[in-house]
Symmetry: C2
Subunit: 383 residues, 2 copies
């Protein structure tokens, strides 16, 4: 009898394999609210599969426990943080933005933060600092970049950050204008002596890498790319090492780009959308090459904190790009081969909500943050 | 030694199963051109997995062999077929439209055809006939519906057809106008005494089913739904038996609807888009309930010959709705639970082409027809 057992095993395994092949249709994923009561959360950084730092645009830097639901305010946030005035001014973008932890966080607990910093009576601008996190407090603050000038505009700070495969810190800084008619003679994003409307590449301590692209003698050190109106999402493509970033247009013109050293993405001289100031004509720029986007939408999405998925919980989504949208409450999934987008899927179209950021946990789970007064951390779950 | 063979088999199968689980990421499907040289093909009906009838909007009814690539013109097409004048008039929609074969084709070889029929000096309209197919010729023609009046407009004939789960023939008839300012006092699609802008439900011989919805004494017999501008795609949802149809808007307003008995889909009184005639205001209609679409796009797609996929070649697409688009060269895949669209994916965004119709073969393969002078039959293939 015993010699038949392997045979039985074999038959059982054949059946198991057949069964697996037949049931390979994939159910639509669901949503599960993990946390609520967040004040317009902007980004998050996982400290472990169940613990994370969350930035609230209109609130605090928090440490949250995804299991106990406990929220703790991290003390020692810089006191030059703007008081968000979005309650007064519609569309105010100021507040706390990105949070990253150091790739070697366990040895040196650096936390990287971008936010809108204020100078009383002068205005505000985008600022990036790092500080060490100990006992729920920030210590040993260092300013990495301060995107002077401080101005009265409170739009398009940018503030997206990511560590590249080269270990450098990439930072997006918005152009800050609402109306193109307020552009100076040389548009801000095209002016290499102006920090705004650019993407910077810095060493982790804020110093300028020696292998920075040469953009001429008048270029501000650290500028890596220019001609960018309002980029918030920036992420590394796992299988190529390319860095992708999202950009807000004005009337349409929402775009996805691949970051290249020294590239000029064209704002405001070229856009896939329309300018908001119908009376504005950008100046002719001689000898300038513009880099077109990889993708643009024919309608408004307000794409923001994107991420590439590399986990195992959704094997069918491996290496796909996820792009959340504010204006339509979208969550887009792009299937990509190298630098070519092959398909674009909008998920949860029956249950839309303003999404600011998509993040993957260390154990490969997929989460997003909703941009609401009662903001939520929501997990995407297999059905 | 021989007694170890089952053990080895078992180990090999375990490895096989593990392997299968690890490689469960799904590659992006590809395209393979099966046939070209088609003159703006509109639809197709499979006679076998490798043989099909294809209608050319600007040409003939063809029988094609997908393996030998042989094309034969089916003789005996009605001689009141309009000569397409799209070469002269941009956007002319006249020609041959849908082709279906009878559910019991093997016993009675009926072929159902819709096309733009002409009356010299008077105009054209949408006409549906059936005829028996023998030796590549049509015999025993019967007219099932003729959407009088014949008019000089050559737009929006409709012409979509499908057999419902009830065995009845559902036919879409377009409103025919280009400008809303040409609407009569009661808009065509809202006038129950006018065949245009409606969906009809007929017995296979063209007679009116006794269980037709009661739309009042003045309603033309056979009308099943109204208020429809320009529907071309119509298909049965496999898991619910619901009938879905696509509708062309004017400026945006492209929609997907679920067909309900007696329902009024609102054209031109309500639309998710804009009217083409800015100076036109539809009349107030008393005591009318409009049925909203299940889906609309915020941009123009020109959705047309849709289909639900039920095959096994793409198990992850089982029961999904595929909607081709003319204007952006789109192919959309909708994931649906009953009457709720859960996600919307645009496929092949890196290789756009005007697509008129998506069809599934009897052996579960997925094909589409491109709306081009050199029109193609293209198969979607797993990579």
């Amino acid at each position: 009898m015993r010699k038949f057992i392997p045979v039985l095993l074999t038959i059982m395994l054949i059946l198991a394999c057949v069964e697996k092949q037949e049931s390979s249709s994939i159910p639509v994923p669901g949503k599960k609210t993990i946390l609520d009561g967040l004040n317009h959360p902007w980004s998050m950084a996982f400290l472990s599969p169940t613990e994370a730092l969350i930035t609230e645009k209109d609130g605090h830097l928090l440490k949250v426990d995804l299991e106990t639901k406990k929220k703790s305010i991290i003390k020692g946030f810089p006191d030059d943080l703007t008081d968000s005035i979005r309650a007064v001014h519609f569309g105010d973008n100021s507040g706390i933005f990105e949070v990253l932890i150091d790739p070697n966080f366990k040895s040196t607990p650096w936390v990287y933060l971008s936010y809108a910093a204020k100078k009383p009576g002068v205005g505000s601008t985008t600022k990036v600092i790092r500080a060490q996190l100990k006992n729920d407090s920030l210590y040993a603050h260092e300013t990495l970049i301060e995107a002077a000038p401080y101005t009265k505009e409170y739009f398009h700070y940018g503030g997206g950050m990511v560590f590249g495969p080269d270990g450098k810190l990439y930072v997006t800084i918005g152009e800050r204008l609402f109306w193109e008619r307020d552009e100076p003679e040389i548009p801000i994003a095209q002016d290499l002596s102006d920090k705004r409307g650019k993407i910077y590449r810095l060493n982790a301590d804020g110093s300028i890498p020696e292998d920075s692209p040469d953009l001429g003698p008048n270029a501000d050190p650290g500028i890596y790319a220019l001609g960018i109106r309002a980029a918030q999402g920036i992420a590394v493509q796992p299988d190529t090492g390319n860095i992708w970033f999202s950009e807000h247009g004005t009337i349409q013109g929402d775009e996805i780009n691949i970051l290249n050293a020294g590239a000029n993405y064209g704002w405001p001289n070229v856009t896939t959308g329309k300018l908001r100031s119908s009376d504005y004509t950008p100046p002719k720029l001689e000898g300038v090459t513009f880099t077109p986007p990889i993708w643009f939408w024919p309608h408004t999405v307000a794409p923001t904190g994107l991420t590439f998925y590399t986990g195992d919980e959704f094997p069918q989504w491996k290496n796909d790009l996820f792009v959340p949208g504010l204006s339509r409450g979208s969550l887009w999934r792009f299937r990509i081969e190298n630098e070519t987008i092959k398909s674009a899927e909008e998920l949860f179209v029956d249950d839309r909500v303003r999404i600011r950021k998509v993040r993957q946990s260390p154990d490969g789970k997929l989460y997003f943050l909703t941009d609401e007064d009662n903001g939520k951390l929501i997990q995407i779950i297999p059905q």
